[in-house]
Symmetry: C2
Subunit: 250 residues, 2 copies
C-alpha cells in the first residue's frame, strides 16, 4: 500500500519562496512521497535556501522537474486534486483532507495522481483549479486561515500516508478494460469540445469561458475513462462534420 | 466543540531555533489553538525570527509563557500527551495522532490538557516523557522520519481540530462528582508513594528510579480521578505510619 505514495505527485505552482520548496520536499519525504514538480516557480531553483530547509530530503529536490504550465505537470495523471483556501462557487466538489486522500490513494492504483498547491499569496487561479478533478480544503480556523505552503503540504501528505496505511492489502490486479482518462486526454477532449461547439455556433468564440468552465467541471467531476473520452470525441468529430444521414435512411 | 481547542496547551521543551517557535505559533493559530508554553527554551525569546515566522500569529507569541520545568507547565493539566519519534520500551501507550487527538478533545472537557513537544535534535527525555499520561507518534516514513518541529505541531493540532469538528454537540454539562486528577496531584501522589516505599524499605533510596518509573506509568495510564488520588494518598499516609491495628482487634 505504501508504494502507492510514490505515485502521488506534488505540484507547486508559482512558488515565490525557495525555502518553502525545501520545506515541502522535507514534508513529502517524511510521509514517503518522492515526486515533486514545480510549475513556473517565481524564485530561483535550485537554491541554497531550498537545500537547507530540505534538511536531508535533497534527493526529492534533485529529482524535481520544473515545467512551464500546469497542464504539462498533469498530462499523464489520472486524477488531480487542487488545494483551495476558499470556495468560489466552483462546481467541482471541495473535499476534506481525509476523504480526498482516501480517494487519491484509491485512484493511484490506476496511474499517476497529483496534489496541486498554489502561490503563497494567492493560491491557485480559477484556470488552474479548472485543471483539477477535485478540490480539497483544509478546515482551518476561519479567523486565521494563513496556512504556510509547506504546512499545507505536510497536512495533505500526512493524510495520504494515513489513508495508505489504512488501506487493506490490494486484491490481485485485474485487467481493467476501461482505465481512467489521463488529464492530457481530458484536455484533448475539452479542446475538441470547444472547437465543436464553436463550429456549431453553440458557443460564442469571443466569450467561450463561462460555458466551457461549466462543462469542464461536469466532466472533471465525472472521472471519465479513456474509452468514454474516445466515445465523446467520436461524437464531437461527427458533430464538427455537421454530419449524420438524413432521417429515414439506414 | 471548537472552544475545546482553546483548552489544549502546546508545550515546547528546549527549543533551539526561534523560527520554529514562530512557525509553531502560526500552525497553532491556523487550527484554532492559542495557548503556548515554552519550557527552558535554548534560544532567545521573544525574537525577531519568531515574530517573522508567526506571520500574524503574534498574539500567540505575546501570550506565551516561559517556564523553567515541564512539571510547571503541566501542573494544572488533567492530561498530557508527549510526542515521541521512537518507542523506547515505555509502558505508557504510544497512540496514532487520530486516536490521541480524539482522546485529548474528550478529556479537554474536564480541564486543561497539553501536547508536549521536545527538542529539534533529540526530542523529549525519558524523564520528560514520564511526566506525560500518554505518548503520540506520527507515523513517518521509517527511512526519513525527520519531521520539522513546527510540522509536527501542524499535524497534531490539525488532528485535534478534525477531532473537535467531528465531535457531536456536547450534552448539557453534568456535575462531575469525580473530576480527573491534575498533574500536580499526580506528582504529589508519586512523591508520597516514593517516600512511603522508602519508609517501608520496599525501595532502595539510592536507586529508586526504575521501580518508580514502572509505578508512574501504571498510574499515568490509568487516568486517575482526584478522589482516587486522595484514597491512594490516604493509604500511603497509613503505610508511612506503619499503622494498622494488630490482627484480631476490631
Amino acid at each position: 500500500m505504501l508504494q502507492t505514495l510514490s505515485r502521488i505527485r506534488v505540484v507547486l505552482v508559482g512558488t515565490t519562496h525557495p525555502g518553502n520548496i525545501g520545506s515541502a520536499a522535507r514534508a513529502m519525504k517524511t510521509m514517503g512521497l518522492a515526486e515533486l514538480v514545480l510549475v513556473a516557480p517565481e524564485c530561483a531553483f535550485p537554491s541554497a535556501d531550498s537545500t537547507t530547509l530540505a534538511a536531508g530530503a535533497d534527493d526529492v529536490l534533485v529529482a524535481a522537474r520544473v515545467l512551464p504550465r500546469l497542464e504539462d505537470a498533469l498530462a499523464d495523471c489520472v486524477w488531480a486534486v487542487g488545494t483551495s483556501a476558499r470556495r468560489r462557487g466552483h462546481s467541482v466538489p471541495a473535499l476534506d483532507p481525509n476523504p480526498a486522500a482516501q480517494d487519491l490513494i484509491a485512484r493511484a492504483a490506476q496511474g499517476p495522481v497529483a496534489l496541486v498547491f498554489g502561490r503563497e499569496s494567492s493560491g491557485l487561479t480559477n484556470e488552474e483549479l479548472d485543471c483539477c478533478n477535485a478540490l480539497v480544503q483544509i478546515p482551518t480556523n476561519p479567523e486565521f486561515s494563513s496556512l504556510n505552503l509547506a504546512a499545507a503540504v505536510q497536512v495533505l501528505t500526512y493524510s495520504c500516508r494515513i489513508a495508505a496505511l489504512a488501506e487493506s492489502p490490494p486484491s490481485p490486479p485485474e485487467y481493467d478494460p476501461d482505465p481512467p482518462a489521463t488529464q492530457a486526454e481530458l484536455e484533448g477532449l475539452f479542446e475538441h469540445l470547444q472547437r465543436a461547439l464553436i463550429r456549431i455556433e453553440f458557443l460564442d468564440p469571443e466569450k467561450p469561458r463561462h460555458l466551457m468552465r461549466r462543462l469542464r467541471h461536469l466532466y472533471l467531476r465525472a472521472g471519465l475513462s479513456a474509452s468514454e473520452v474516445r466515445i465523446l470525441r467520436g461524437i464531437l468529430t461527427h458533430t464538427e462534420r455537421g454530419g449524420g444521414r438524413p432521417l429515414g435512411r439506414p
